[in-house]
Subunit: 81 residues, 2 copies
Amino acid sequence: GHDWRCIDEHHLEKKYDFPNFRQALDFTNRVGELAERQGHHPDIYLAWGKVVLTIWTHKIDGLTESDFIFAAKADQQLNQH
Amino acid sequence: GHDWRCIDEHHLEKKYDFPNFRQALDFTNRVGELAERQGHHPDIYLAWGKVVLTIWTHKIDGLTESDFIFAAKADQQLNQH
């Protein structure tokens, strides 16, 4: 597995692996719905068998508590198949 | 608007703009379903108000006719709200 990485003290990034495109797309949708509920939108890179999330707070162009909360909630979406 | 760009004769890339996250997520899903139907999967970069598609043929690590067909079909998904 992979862990969250803090890049340049500016954003959080994590790569998730999946066995196919469908499951990566499903996770993208769960994270997308979470983003709409939270009013906090990550960048989502979706490819065959993987999703990379990048999270930061656009208003300050850096990290706030909201980003770490979103990261934790994104991980929870993995277990909600 | 933006057009398809052919990068390094290796892949096709296009940026689509949307007025919000929801419409970008919806387009991601339409392209994702197209990918599953075609058995040809682009990389999809989804962010607030935009989607960037990157298309190439992994088997030859370059462009084939399938990529141009997929690009045209991806554009058609824009008009299927």
